[in-house]
Symmetry: C2
């Protein structure tokens, strides 16, 4: 496995691969790899000739007061996991290498970046889109793998790629869950034992909403209200940023019976103690 720190080395390594007609899969991560990342890596290894994992805690996608500084990092452990999974390359640049001293160019996917998490993290998706486009331009992968756990991120990146004619195929991969349903996330590390136990309330509530929808109920405001009550009843839930029922393609909020076509995205962002967790599920009607 080759560990690369600079853009120039990356370009040289991957130009060589390309000239041999090999396909390249990219798994962009912020490190602290877990089973979710491993499932992306495995998928890339099945579908591409070579796989690169980028490890970069991207400063510009964190807002003031968010957890950039304390975001869990363990490069040594990550390298061990990547090696075990037979990753071909790790790209782990420093922030200075990625952004230089005076970065001014940013990508926005307007409107979609203002709802759900975007409402509470105003520049988050600008930061995500910008770093992802940079990674694509540096690495030039054929395919890139993203978890459905960050559903809004996945949809926004797909939209960016489509609207800007980026020549990379975006592959969404199923959320990997613990046995109690909690979605795998590096941020789960922040939870106390009790909070970790109570964190199951996110997915439990999503499954409750799914059941209501599958029963044929379409009063989405009522379902939402019930779900908020379920969340609030949990002693570890300290704040609810949102619990939404939306169109999974446009992220538009769904109205009772109106514009519901084929599927419903159930998504939430909830503080378990001081830790902000997100989860979602797309229900096919």
């Amino acid at each position: 496995m080759n560990i690369i720190k600079t853009k120039d080395e990356t370009r040289a390594a991957f130009a060589q691969l390309k000239s041999q007609g090999k396909t390249l899969g990219l798994v962009p991560t912020m490190g602290y790899l877990h089973e979710g990342h491993i499932s992306l890596i495995k998928k890339s290894r099945r579908e591409c000739d070579a796989t690169v994992v980028s490890i970069f805690v991207n400063p510009i996608q964190f807002g003031p007061g968010e957890d950039f500084e304390k975001y869990p990092r363990d490069t040594k452990r990550d390298i061990g996991i990547a090696e075990k999974e037979k990753v071909d390359f790790i790209f782990s640049p420093e922030a200075e290498e990625m952004y230089g001293k005076n970065n001014l160019a940013y990508v926005n996917v307007e409107k979609m970046d203002k709802v759900m998490c975007g409402k509470f993290r105003p520049d988050h998706f600008r930061g995500v889109c910008t770093v992802v486009l940079k990674l694509f331009n540096i690495i030039k992968p054929d395919r890139a793998y993203f978890g459905e756990k960050d559903f809004q991120q996945l949809i926004i990146i797909k939209k960016m790629v489509k609207d800007l004619d980026v020549d990379v195929k975006i592959i969404g991969c199923k959320t990997i869950r613990e046995t109690d349903g909690v979605a795998m996330s590096s941020r789960n590390k922040y939870l106390t034992e009790k909070e970790r136990m109570n964190a199951a309330v996110l997915y439990d509530t999503i499954l409750f909403a799914e059941k209501e929808i599958k029963k044929g109920l379409r009063d989405l405001a009522e379902i939402k209200k019930e779900c908020l009550d379920l969340l609030k009843a949990n002693e570890s839930v300290k704040n609810i940023d949102y619990f939404d029922l939306r169109d999974p393609e446009t992220l538009d909020e769904l109205q009772k019976n109106k514009n519901i076509t084929g599927s419903i995205l159930i998504a939430c962002a909830v503080y378990i103690g001081k830790t902000r967790l997100i989860d979602n599920k797309v229900v096919l009607l």
Copy 2:
């Protein structure tokens, strides 16, 4: 010469070129080609194995009330010129082909897009950056050629390419002028005979500022005031958006004696009758 209208045809044609190891030069235009464009084409033909001229009057870089509708178009004439100049490909998509029905992704080069023309045309550079990045992603040129006449555009595109790690070399090319100094522009077509004559006041005033600077004068506010007076004295000058002295790399406004390092950009946007014209010169100290 091959005239291509769709992204898919473009990708197919240029992938073939690339696989043959040929270099590709792109000259992005809004059509109505003049000597300025021809100089870009000639440079591309000297430096690249194949040259593509894109012709696309980009709706999203025009603001409400601007001249998108009446912008001069003459595709037949453009094709004749391109053929004479031995251009290999013309890419001239329809707006629907470029943007589809619900474009949401945009590129911004922040701060630099708020000054000079950006102050008076708020979404202009967002539109320029977005279409240029799309053209780069569709065509994948090795080099792209832009006139120095649109200096702010050139600098902003260079910044976008650097900050987003776009793998295209941006080549700035000298402004081509009529014998009286007026910079070639498709918009000169709007001018009456008298206005066309008086349009020389832009470059005359820039040359006056240059002379003052070359004399060693560094009271930039005073020079600017004199230049504004010169412009106002011209009977065809109906409005002055700006006449600025700036750092040609950062576009920061220069202060008397302060932070003047090596060169000064003199740039202006002036209404000659109802026609907004721009011009500039970089003075090396």
